[in-house]
């Protein structure tokens, strides 16, 4: 026992020494680009709100996932362009029938307490998320990974150890899928699929994520967390690739007010903040090199309620088409949002990997043509000056959503003579109202959970829990089912999008951008990663 602890102490000391050397070197110049590095490598960024959890198995918000990506590491990571690169696994093989994935883990991956990261840690983590007893808000993510056995476990009908994942030895993880899924390897970069430390969770319960208890396997360790104020992470000496890490400390500040956050960025207190709504253009002029706008894998849209008990006009495809054509999306993107958003005529963002946007008629028309067609469709459906259509738009309370709803209703009135009332509800009430189908037209937004079209198109399937429109089309359901196993999935996705554009269960409005301001010294930000998955260990601050 004595010997072991001496050994541990010696190796820890060695680690510190070697780590320290890499650190000193790293501070001179960047090993690849040769840029001179700043002496203080503290990266400070803003988040708008505290995350409910940073436990990879429980995390449910985008900003909490970003924290989890710094404190933990999954089998694979993403590079600056969103491509898969090795993480805890060095590589993986896919069986002939595409039903079995075998991941080979590196032997030098370590937890922050020095213990090795094993395949068993992944087995534990994935069973834990799937187990309904854990009650993870992201348990549904396990369903879309297609790992065999997820359904019955989540329904409480099978034990968690029936999950199709096994660890024949410490460095091999074998995953069995129910059906071949073209995007499976993508899903292991998601925080929900990260390993978690069984011993710490069993010892501390829900409190295992506090700084005094937490054990991670990522490039950083959590040293301080004051909810609603700040979180501090410092580089992990046990991380297998620590020598390549340049940022020493990551500080995450919670600043609810975006204007206030921006002022503090101007004062030099932060390296990265969001840009206050509606100020992108004017600030971009003032800070051309610092303000950025990157495409995001998210779509803003209005859902038409097509359920049987909804008003009759909503069942008429001509009316839905007319409403979708009857307003100018450029007014929304260029007049209101002004941050590089792209007008949307179909649901899946064009930046989605491998996806070809179908050539839909609406996208090719001029706005005059769209309005003319909308007027014709509406007249055909029996609505006009003597019988005006009245509609109700429901959105969750926010100045931004309100401006868009007002603009659309105004354009509908001018172009089509449609009388729209707009109604807002506070978030919790809104979710319940929309979820139970008590609306005519409701605002919605959707962000991809992985970079493949099915993360969007699955919402068109009649069985999807997020199909707010209540849209049912047997052909769409069949195509989506076929796409799960087809080698020609992308063509089928394009076909689904074409059908949906004709049926108009939703009215796509724009594709989101991610807008922010960063100090000129901050380099390495993954601008081309449409999922916005950033890793602090890829960033660095250059000397100014």
């Amino acid at each position: 026992m004595k010997l072991k602890s001496t050994l541990l102490a010696t190796s820890a000391a060695l680690l510190v020494v070697t780590g320290g050397m890499a650190y000193a070197d790293a501070h001179a110049t960047h090993p690849v680009t040769g840029e001179a590095l700043a002496s203080d490598q503290t990266f400070t960024y803003q988040d708008i709100d505290e995350s409910p959890s940073i436990d990879p198995g429980m995390v449910e918000d985008v900003s909490g996932s970003a924290v989890a990506r710094n404190l933990f590491e999954g089998l694979m990571n993403q590079d600056a362009d969103g491509n898969l690169i090795p993480g805890v696994a060095t590589d993986f093989e896919v069986s002939e029938d595409k039903l079995t994935y075998t991941f080979h883990l590196r032997d030098n991956a370590k937890w922050s307490n020095g213990e090795p990261v094993t395949a068993g840690d992944f087995v534990y983590a994935w069973r834990r998320v799937t187990d309904p007893v854990t009650a993870s808000p992201y348990a549904w993510f396990m369903e879309i990974t297609g790992i065999s056995g997820v359904g019955p476990i989540m329904a409480g009908e099978a034990a968690p150890d029936t999950l199709g994942v096994e660890a024949p030895d410490d460095l091999t993880l074998v995953v069995h899928l129910d059906q071949p899924l073209p995007y499976f390897a993508q899903t292991v970069t998601h925080a929900t699929m990260f390993p978690v430390p069984q011993a710490a969770i069993e010892a501390h319960g829900a409190e295992w994520t506090r700084p005094e208890n937490i054990i991670g396997n990522g490039a950083y360790v959590l040293t301080e967390h004051v909810p609603q104020e700040r979180m501090v992470m410092v580089r992990s000496e046990t991380y297998w690739n620590n020598a390549a890490t340049i940022i020493d400390t990551v500080e995450r500040l919670i600043i609810n007010d975006e204007t206030q956050a921006f002022t503090r960025w101007q004062a030099g207190e932060l390296d990265l903040v969001g840009v206050p709504t509606g100020q992108y253009l004017s600030l971009k002029e003032q800070y051309p090199d610092e303000i950025y706008s990157n495409p995001r894998l998210c779509t803003y849209y209005y859902a038409f309620n097509m359920r049987e008990d909804a008003p009759e006009w909503l069942q008429d495809v001509r009316v839905r088409q007319a409403l979708s054509l009857g307003f100018d999306r450029n007014v929304i993107t260029e007049g209101i949002l002004q941050a590089g958003q792209i007008p949307a005529y179909t649901f899946t963002p064009p930046t989605t990997a491998g996806f070809t946007v179908p050539e839909v008629e609406a996208a090719a028309m001029t706005q005059e043509e769209r309005v003319a067609k909308a007027q014709a469709l509406l007249a055909e459906a029996g609505y006009g000056a003597d019988n005006p259509l009245t509609v109700d738009i429901l959105y969750n309370t926010s100045e931004g959503h309100k401006s868009i709803a007002i603009a659309i209703s105004q354009m509908w009135k001018e172009n089509l003579g449609v009388e729209a009332t707009i109604e807002n509800m506070e978030w919790g009430t809104f979710l319940e109202t929309r979820g139970s189908g008590q609306f005519e037209i409701a605002r919605a937004g959707w962000c991809g959970d992985y970079n493949e079209a099915s993360t969007f198109l699955d919402l068109y399937s009649s069985g999807s829990g997020y199909n707010d429109s209540g849209y049912v089309n047997a052909e769409v359901d069949a195509l989506l089912a076929e796409a799960k196993t087809s080698p020609e999935a992308q063509a089928l996705y394009t076909q689904v999008e074409t059908i949906a554009a004709a049926d108009a269960p939703i009215m796509p409005i724009y594709f989101y951008t991610s807008v922010g301001a960063r100090t000129a010294a901050l380099k390495g930000w993954p601008d081309n990663n449409v999922e916005n998955n950033w890793y602090a260990r890829d960033l660095y601050l250059v000397a100014e």
Partner: protein, 307 residues
């Protein structure tokens, strides 16, 4: 006096219980659910969550269990939203923050408010009076959500003297702007109340008598006029103190202090029932306690009042 305090405390207990009951009913009647997000959890997960937090129990049982835990174990339960925190943790972390900047705001508001009010009253209808009144009205008409960004603009962005937010354990440089922003409107009210009540007292018979006896002006004001003049101020100070130490969501939001006001407001949006209840009870109890303290102080200052 003693029996009065006992009587007031006896009334306080049912008051808090009624407060809990009303808050519970309001909470239930608000649509929504703490576990609902853009992506709703699967039904089995939802069922487990509801069982874990006792939401599958009938309402009366939930309320009874809750009250038992609060009264006998002083346990406000786990937060529904923040998975690794209990309500006790959140209050233990956020309340000292709020208490610190609230206390200093109170001190600043009282010292400057009363001081300015007295000066304005003594120098009634002089330039000093007009200046003081103008200053008080000016600061009262700038709400703290306007004041806070202005302060940050001046002291952080232009002068670079103070950090624009954060708490970092409550160092003095993190304290200055929250204290100024929070105390301003209270200070202005205190100054106005002090001034008018002082003016009234200075015009009363016993002050005229004191002056007629040839007492020096300082003794007339501080020895005779101040005590009765402060009575109306005192009744304002009780609720004001509670208001300040239980936090302001504006201050928490602008200065990212991690104080309790932010948690309070967010808990309502998140349907974080236990946090909402915990902070409601905290604020309610403090209000009752400080109102009682004010009443006791009243009796001590004003010989006309006997309970």
């Amino acid at each position: 006096m003693f029996s009065y305090i006992v009587r007031r405390l006896t009334v306080a207990v049912p008051t808090i219980l009624i407060l809990i009951a009303i808050s519970f009913v309001l909470m239930w009647s608000a649509p929504g659910n703490p576990f609902m997000g853009e992506k709703a959890p699967p039904p089995e997960v939802l069922a487990n969550l509801e069982a874990k937090y006792g939401l599958d129990q009938p309402y009366w049982k939930q309320m009874l269990d809750y009250m038992t835990n609060v009264v006998f174990h002083f346990d406000f339960g786990p937060s529904f939203k923040y998975k690794d925190r209990t309500v006790n943790d959140i209050i233990a972390q956020g309340f000292p923050v709020t208490l610190t900047y609230g206390f200093w705001s109170f001190v600043v508001a009282v010292v400057f408010g009363i001081g300015l009010g007295i000066i304005a009253a003594i120098r009634h209808n002089t330039w000093l009076d007009y200046l003081a009144v103008g200053f008080a009205i000016g600061s009262q008409s700038i709400p703290n959500y306007v004041m806070a960004p202005i302060l940050v603009l001046i002291f952080t962005l232009w002068l670079g003297w103070l950090p624009g937010g954060g708490w970092e354990g409550g160092t003095w440089d993190h304290l200055i702007m929250p204290v100024i922003a929070l105390s301003t409107s209270y200070f202005a009210s205190i100054a106005r109340i002090t001034r008018s009540s002082m003016l009234e007292v200075l015009n009363s018979g016993f002050i005229r008598t004191a002056r007629a006896k040839g007492l020096p002006s300082g003794r007339v004001i501080f020895g005779h006029a101040l005590k009765p003049a402060l009575l109306p101020v005192l009744s304002y100070l009780g609720p004001a103190f509670v208001g300040m130490i239980t936090g302001s969501v504006i201050i928490d939001q602008y200065f990212s202090t991690g104080g309790i006001g932010q948690f309070f407001v967010n808990s309502a949006f998140n349907r974080d029932y236990s946090v909402m209840m915990g902070i409601t009870i905290l604020v309610g109890s403090l209000t009752i306690i400080f109102n009682l303290l004010v009443d006791i102080l009243y009796a001590w200052i004003d010989p006309k009042i006997r309970y």
